[in-house]
Symmetry: C2
Amino acid sequence: MTAETKPTKRPTSFDVAKLAGVSRATVSHILNGQGSRFPEETRAKVLKAAGELNYQPSPAGRALVTGRSDILVILVPNTTFGSNLQDLVDNVTQRAAAHGLSVVVRFAGSNPGETLAAILRFRPVAVVDMGILGADEREVLHNSGAAVIPRIPASEDPTHDINHVIGRTMAKTLLRNGPRQLLYAALLDERLDPFGPGRFEGMKAAARHEGLPEPERIEIPLELERATTALAAVQAKDAPLAVGCYNDDVAIAVVAAGRALGLRIPEDLSVVGVDATAIGQLVSPRLTSVRIHNAPLMERIASDLASISHPAPAPPLPAVRADVSVISGETA
Amino acid sequence: MTAETKPTKRPTSFDVAKLAGVSRATVSHILNGQGSRFPEETRAKVLKAAGELNYQPSPAGRALVTGRSDILVILVPNTTFGSNLQDLVDNVTQRAAAHGLSVVVRFAGSNPGETLAAILRFRPVAVVDMGILGADEREVLHNSGAAVIPRIPASEDPTHDINHVIGRTMAKTLLRNGPRQLLYAALLDERLDPFGPGRFEGMKAAARHEGLPEPERIEIPLELERATTALAAVQAKDAPLAVGCYNDDVAIAVVAAGRALGLRIPEDLSVVGVDATAIGQLVSPRLTSVRIHNAPLMERIASDLASISHPAPAPPLPAVRADVSVISGETA
DNA sequence: CTGTTAGCGCGTTCAC
DNA sequence: GTGAACGCGCTAACAG
């Protein structure tokens, strides 16, 4: 270094104004596009000055006056949320950047209230909710002035919930070779299983529809011995088991436990996972798994994102179609 | 709702001052603990008023005057960073909250400059770097006034880098049953493999040390057919292969590819992963894997976190011991 | 039309 | 214990 460059040398709107030979107000007007139209000459001067100084408006100053930060929060259920989490985040980050927004990721903690409070502290422009917020929490966010994305039609039939669809799909897949004792395998760590209830409900509905007894819910740790114990506890003498799992990881654990118990797969134990992860297709036996098609959701997020700038009241708003498909493997 | 509650009804320091019958300056002094000592009575009044109003200082206002936000950024390499990512984030979030800091997660994008810029926009108090920042980038952050955590001893021997240690450990493990042709298997998606170079270097060093030829680097997609093709391309006629993998996911892919090629494991193909994930221990054959002990790192982060409030120049600063162990499975 | 003045929003801090 | 000013950007009101 030559002469102890001051750490905080960020130019302010005042610096730009000075360099351009105008007032701060003019700078603000021009840089925000809107406002009265200034002669081309003035615009150019200001833009050039801003460019030379590499002027970046202070988020703090802006937040102070607008009462809102330029932050967009992506609320993520947990780390195990498919492997497409990264893609989704990258995608949203790109689009948000185009709107001048900064994206931050928050993992949903085990304490919903705390999580909500943490989000509110950011005074975000928008919150991308992957489906873990309750109606009341969405309400709170909305009232705080944050757009909650994707926007969900108000009168949503719980039967159309993606997790319900997943649960039904698992059940249907497990039952396609005749009736079996249905089970729902959740993760032991509840923190990681926010979608469990919906999926379990879906399986129950499917069971009812088939005239089968209500499925049982078991918790499967991702550890062989304890998983085996858990599975053994529900193993009937000679009724084949059919286990719908929270995700592929759990499915792998169930398969491992079944193997440890000497069960044939899928004859004695059929298993269906969710997410159709790459790993699930690489292990032996290859998993049968429900794949969630995120494209529609992504599109919806993108369009909602686009509409937060234009405070258009409420454009169309088609429901997000719950789009899933079954990847047939060797476990069901 | 009764009467269109105003969205922004947050109390300001003025409200607290009014209710407590003092000036805003007094409120500020008392609420920031530090400052001259006020009579107990005044303190109580202010605290009570703040409590009743549930007063939360505006981050924007504070940021404006301090030139710094109350944000702590955790820079995460990618989604596949072990499953302990969630634990680490939760852990840091807890501790940070105790310091009144808000934690945000950023995934390191493929474009380092962009990532750095995005972080700088937050003007964060601190950045937790999981080891993906270069010395220059750390420098930039430091100059911007952000504490970079964990603090790394300046003259760090690259040989002590955790990834180098991991690479050497993989090689050693693979070679414990005699010399083999060493390979390093990276993920196809480079975005997900920021630690690859260090690990590969570690393997090279170990190979040199053993007088073996330099290991080759291969890219293994997480998809059976293409993984098989990639592995077949490097398969010598009758030299057994020994593959050190970026992580357990890659290891599972290599094992699957080997099986597809009719190789016996570990006789013809030995494999070592990294992370010792739960899944790796549930599949068959059970993975041999290098486990990274995060406790020391966590502790270091915790202590560094504690020291950002006290601007103590530079307390001790013991090096973080790179602590790894080998989980013996059936693949090496 | 073009551009400026003035004051807000919120917490902090110096000087009295 | 307080008054006043600062930091930074925005915008309504206003003057040239």
